[in-house]
């Protein structure tokens, strides 16, 4: 157990596809740094741009995990659409240009113990359950399988999510409309 934990910490352990593990480690370090910047920066626009780095890193991790269609969807939907929405939101709410000193709550320090506690519990549970599970590299997932699943067993959830998106789009227009 302990060897598997240390093996997980040393990213290039176990001798399985070292290049992949090194790539994972580099991208993961960049992502964690960018995520910390998102929640600590004093500039709202910088926060949005750091979020782009995190989302791109997540897409890269999907590629490493062989989920290419999800990675492409991530880039299209998140970096392409959601980030533009965020930047519009920042502009329309007239955020301060430059640094802003009151972006945090007065009780923001409360978040640190909560986050650390949650991190500890999650890491413990994850290592306890999957401590020595090895992912075998099976290459990219064929997109045909995803489309077959969406138009086969997952057809009803697929239609439902289409209606949810439609309702959300109409609802957003109704809420934000000026009248």
């Amino acid at each position: 157990m302990t060897t598997s934990i240390t093996g997980a910490m040393l990213l290039a352990a176990d001798g399985i596809n070292i290049a992949m593990n090194v790539g994972f480690g580099i991208i993961a370090a960049i992502m964690v740094f960018a995520a910390l910047s998102v929640v600590t920066t004093r500039n709202v626009v910088h926060g949005a741009l750091w979020l782009v780095v995190v989302l791109g890193g997540v897409a890269a991790q999907y590629l490493l995990a062989g989920a290419e269609f999800v990675a492409i969807s991530q880039v299209l939907v998140y970096i392409g659409a959601v980030m533009v929405l965020f930047l519009f939101g920042i502009m329309l709410t007239r955020a301060k240009i430059g640094a802003d000193t009151d972006l945090n709550n007065s009780s923001w320090g409360l978040g640190i113990p909560v986050a650390l506690l949650m991190l500890g519990v999650l890491v413990w549970a994850v290592i306890d359950a999957f401590g020595d599970t090895v992912i075998t590299d099976r290459g990219p997932t064929p997109t045909v399988e995803i489309s077959d699943a969406f138009l086969g067993p997952y057809l009803l959830p697929f239609l439902a999510i289409s209606f949810v998106l439609l309702a959300a789009a109409v609802g957003a227009i109704v809420i934000a409309r000026k009248d």
């Binding site: 007065s106 994850v126 959830p157």
Partner: protein, 99 residues
């Protein structure tokens, strides 16, 4: 590649997102932190899809992407509405509903 690599990275991102939701005062920054949380969950789903050797996890990740897009649209519309009515999106000033 060990499965815990993905899962621990997702746990770290999740905790950072939770910290952001608690600590931030600006409503747009809170929505960004929610995006961090959602992305960590999707990373978990894709990792589980690799562990169980089925594509169901990837399908759920795609569903989460769609839900997140809807959530951001409605959330930002609500933030704009609050800004239009109050000229501020500081969350600790929205205390009219407190008893």
């Amino acid at each position: 590649m060990l499965a815990v690599n993905f899962l621990i990275l997702a746990a770290v991102l999740f905790s950072i997102g939770v910290f952001g939701v608690i600590a931030r005062r600006n409503a747009v920054m809170v929505l960004m932190s929610v995006e961090l949380v959602l992305n960590s969950v999707m990373l978990n789903l894709v990792a589980f899809s690799q562990i169980t050797d089925s594509i169901d996890g990837q399908l759920f990740a795609l569903f989460v992407i769609a839900i997140a897009a809807a959530e951001v649209g409605v959330g930002l519309a609500m933030v704009l509405m609050v800004y239009r009515n109050r000229r501020s999106i500081a969350l600790d000033e929205l205390s009219e509903m407190k008893g």
